[in-house]
């Protein structure tokens, strides 16, 4: 009897430089180390049945990665997934899981929006926050806002506005307390055309803002006013609360 589980996991620290292509073999090997009865695909080269809904750009951190695992036999999920989490490389941790009942909607259909977080180094924090706040207000007040995305296969014009659910900017202390830094949080819809934080920053920064020190995908789920409902736990993640708490 097979069993399907969905997990939310992190891709932090060094592992944020792992490509989507390499991610699969990292998980397959970790699953074998944890000795879990993963199911395999049929065919000439069988693959472990682990699927990831979408790829994260290389270099971006995340506490909002998801995966679906199909096992060939029942498992004691709490113990088994804890072992898996422990043997994944440092920076990759399983945060939570749910068993998938038969007939459940597809995982991708639950991941309709993403809460992103962009953090700048402790430079010009007050001025930067002020500038970004103004730009955020302007963007939210507009009905369209086109940006050009430069790619090796040519430029593409995108309207970022439809994807924007909510935005928040704040100045808060650095983790070591030695300075202040700017944090921007944004809930963006995952519907096509997919808007990445880099596109958002083109719209907001307009060439006057340096690239952030760190970009993080915080969580994914169903968008609602000022936030989203996280896909596996149903917990509401708001775009503003966290950031204000951090700033306080």
């Amino acid at each position: 009897m097979s069993a399907r589980y969905r997990v939310r996991w992190t891709k932090e620290g060094r592992t944020r430089f792992v490509s989507a292509r390499d991610q699969s073999s990292i998980w397959e090997r970790a699953i074998r180390r944890a000795d879990l009865p993963i199911a395999y695909s049929e065919g000439f080269t069988p693959h472990a049945r682990v699927s990831f809904p979408d790829a994260l750009p290389v270099g971006v951190a995340s506490t909002g990665e998801y995966a679906e695992l199909t096992f060939a036999a029942p498992i004691r999920a709490d113990d088994a997934l804890a072992r898996l989490s422990a043997t994944l490389p440092e920076g990759m941790d399983i945060l939570t899981y749910t068993e998938v009942p038969a007939g459940a909607p597809k995982l991708a259909s639950l991941l309709r929006a993403t809460l992103w977080e962009l953090v700048w180094p402790p430079v010009d924090a007050t001025a930067l926050t002020t500038l970004l706040e103004q730009r955020c207000d302007t963007l939210l007040a507009a009905t369209t806002h086109e940006v050009v995305r430069h790619r090796h296969d040519g430029d593409r014009t995108l309207d970022v506005r439809p994807a924007v659910v909510s935005l928040a900017v704040a100045t808060g202390p650095t983790p070591d307390g030695s300075g202040t830094r700017t944090t921007l949080r944004a809930v963006l819809r995952n519907d096509a055309p997919l808007i990445r934080p880099t596109d958002l920053l083109v719209a907001l920064g307009d060439g006057e803002v340096a690239p952030p020190h760190l970009v993080r995908r915080v969580a994914q789920g169903v968008p609602q006013d000022e936030g989203l409902v996280e896909a596996l736990t149903g917990v509401v993640e708001t775009v503003r609360d966290d950031i204000v708490a951090e700033a306080a």
């Binding site: 592992t15 430089f17 074998r32 069988p46 920076g91």
Partner: protein
């Protein structure tokens, strides 16, 4: 621009030489600055960034302050090529097994990252803690071939370390090289502090002892190099000088300090059972050339292929016990999660117990997704049977055989003892048992080769293809043809190397002949890479100027198609007066001294010369595992024995003097595996001495 860090160079990463000393003292030394913070912003911009972050399963992270000797182990190529190297992984595990020794790993950054590192002053770094090369006590570089020489210079320079040994002092790491290309380190002589000959397991611990004592006693660098030269198997080039005759040939390389050995012997681990490493193998987080759990099932080879440097310099044969292989594989697969297991050696089908090893592993992994593979140079039906055993799970895609030459005469010259009849019968067996693709390895440019010998490669390929086609229209045959490069310590060390133009002409002959056969693919290496390899393989100390110049001109990654460095090398040779003709395309005579004559691989030069004469008259020589000893010189010369189970029950005398306990898996006085085979078949495990 708001929120931008000012673009200052990371000066703290390359402090002045005085400031370095504190980080290099013994226990309690402060950890040098990590480059990670400066590196991370660059990584999204470069190719395959995961190769630079470390963090793999089984990575070992030791505390800097808790160690008193610190090694940086390096494979001078990209991570994807270097990470699977077994030598580095063995030494990593052995050195980190010592309580107060620390070993981290480094690889060469690709050009895109190097450019950005140089702009910002980020030095060569380790993967474990991203610590700079200049802070380590020992920079130990493995040279499996000659095409990493310019990378070695580049890594030193990038790491803030003077690339010439004479310019280094106690503020710098000691630069060691090992591996097969270290059997002629002369083209690197001015750049390295020492070359380590042969098996590394025991000697690295002795070097570690010397380093610890040297740091403790505060001896100067000259005294340290002198102490290293006293370790058996360690060659310190600055303590030797080459002497040349009037016509520019080498007459001798002589020690120039008292008490330095005139002949440096290689190190040989007699009993592999004492060194069951690497066990906790690194599991890469990004793609590499070999992603598998590898177990070396034996070391050395006595097939006597005359072109093969590895087979000559790693003698004698020393086998690992079948039970040990089984245990290492089972534990390793569990520990790493690798899907593939490689049974490594120079010719794995020649292990005396390979059939039971394959059967037992086949039983263990039948019905699982774990696959097994082994490299083999045998061309016979047994090889097919063995491959069938290893692929019970049903993956029968391709088999590889290495006849190496096309004609019977040419195979006699190179001592590759396989007949055309054998090969065709083997192909018949393979295709009839469901294999769909056969790949055949050949070389052109071999000594005494004629165009008929070259065309025989194409004809053999066509004959194999006819068999393939008879068993299935979709079956394929690939001919992989490389240009031969003569190597030191082989019977072909005196031979002339073909020019790349001549190699290309010969490859053209093959392509022309098989043109009408669509099912045969021909794959060739770029013959130009053989030019640099050939020059460095047999070059003497005068070639070092060309190495330095080529590197200055920008040569690195000499083995990569993406980086065409031959024009730089040709310019460097012209500017430094190094003649490629003279070094590579000239046949040497018996009296000429060779740049590696003072480095003893165990083989008698007289025997090599006889074997060279036999080669030229196409006289073959048997494998001494199954036939009487022909006195190549290795066993008695180095006080060694073959360690195989070919004659279970029979006791081979142990003439080796075991080294003192160096921290291997157990005491030094263990029986060899031949003795253990004997012990398991008789009731008295007593060994006659």
């Amino acid at each position: 621009m708001l929120g931008a860090l000012s673009a200052v160079r990371a000066d703290a990463l390359l402090p002045g030489r005085e400031a370095r000393a504190a980080h290099r003292s013994g226990l309690g030394a402060p950890t040098p600055p990590s480059v990670l913070e400066h590196l991370e912003p660059l990584l999204p911009e470069v190719r395959k960034p995961a190769q630079y972050v470390g963090g793999e399963h089984n990575m070992v992270t030791r505390d800097w302050a808790g160690a008193d000797v610190r090694w940086l182990l390096c494979y001078p190529d990209t991570y994807e090529v270097g990470q699977p190297n077994q030598g580095i992984q063995i030494l990593y595990e052995i050195l980190n097994g010592r309580p107060t020794t620390l070993a981290e790993r480094a690889y060469a950054p690709w050009l895109d990252l190097e450019e950005r590192m140089r702009e910002r002053g980020i030095p060569t770094f380790s993967l474990e803690h991203h610590l700079p090369l200049w802070a380590f006590d020992v920079f130990a570089v493995t040279l499996p071939h000659e095409l990493g020489h310019t990378n070695l210079l580049n890594l030193l320079d990038l790491g803030g370390v003077p690339h010439r040994s004479a310019d280094r002092d106690l503020a710098d790491p000691v630069v060691l090289v090992g591996g097969h290309a270290a059997f002629n380190p002369e083209p690197l002589a001015p750049f390295i502090d020492a070359a380590v000959m042969g098996d590394g397991e025991e000697v690295v611990l002795q070097i570690d002892d010397v380093m610890r004592a040297a740091k403790h006693d505060g001896i100067d660098r000259a005294a340290l190099l002198r102490a290293l030269a006293d370790v058996e198997g360690v060659y310190v080039p600055s303590l030797y000088e080459p002497r040349y005759t009037e016509d520019g040939r080498l007459s001798r390389t002589v020690p120039v300090a008292a008490g330095i050995p005139t002949l440096v012997p290689k190190r040989t681990v007699q009993d592999l059972e004492q060194w069951p490493y690497p066990q906790r193998q690194i599991v890469p987080m990004t793609e590499t050339v070999h992603e598998r759990f590898s177990v070396e099932i034996f070391r050395g080879c006595t097939r006597g292929c005359r072109f093969c440097q590895a087979g000559m310099i790693t003698r004698p044969v020393r086998e690992r016990r079948p039970e040990t292989v089984q245990r290492l594989v089972e534990e390793g697969v569990k520990d790493t999660g690798f899907e593939e297991v490689g049974l490594l050696s120079l010719s794995s089908a020649d292990h005396s117990a390979i059939a039971p090893i394959a059967r037992s592993l086949g039983d263990t992994y039948e019905g699982t997704v774990t696959s097994l593979s082994l490299p083999s140079t045998r061309v016979d039906a047994f090889n097919v049977t063995l491959s069938n055993e290893l692929t019970r799970n049903g993956r029968r895609s391709g088999l590889t055989f290495a006849p190496e030459a096309g004609s019977e005469r040419m195979r006699a010259v190179i001592n590759k003892m396989v007949s055309e009849e054998d090969l065709l019968r083997t192909a018949e067996v393979a295709f009839s048992q469901g294999w769909r693709h056969i790949k055949l390895y050949f070389m052109v440019g071999l000594p005494t080769e004629t165009d008929d010998d070259v065309l025989a490669i194409a004809d053999l390929g066509i004959a194999v293809y006819r068999i393939a086609h008879a068993h299935g229209k979709a079956n394929k045959v690939t001919l992989s043809v490389g240009g031969f490069v003569p190597k030191p310590h082989t019977p072909f060390q005196w031979a002339a190397q073909d020019t790349p133009e001549e190699i290309n002409r010969k490859l053209g002959l093959i392509r022309q002949r098989i043109r009408t056969h669509d099912g045969i693919r021909v794959r060739t290496n770029d013959p130009e890479e053989g030019v640099i390899e050939g020059l460095l393989a047999r070059g003497d100390r005068r070639v070092a100027d060309a190495v330095e110049r080529a590197w200055r001109l920008g040569a690195r990654f000499d083995g990569w198609h993406e980086v065409p460095t031959l024009p730089l090398w040709r310019q460097a040779m012209a500017e430094t007066g190094v003649s490629l003709d003279w070094y590579s395309q000239r046949e040497r005579d018996e009296d000429e001294a060779l740049p590696w004559d003072h480095l003893d691989s165990g083989l008698e030069k007289g025997w090599l010369w006889e074997d060279w004469q036999d080669a030229r008259t196409a006289v073959q020589l048997d494998d001494c595992r199954w036939s009487p000893c022909y006195d190549c010189g290795v066993c008695p010369g180095l006080d060694l024995v073959h360690d195989t189970g070919y004659q279970p029950g029979a006791l081979l005398p142990v003439v080796a003097t075991p080294p003192a306990d160096l921290g291997g898996a157990s005491g030094a006085d263990l029986p060899t595996s031949a003795e253990r085979y004997a012990a398991t078949t008789t009731s008295v495990p007593e060994v006659a001495r």
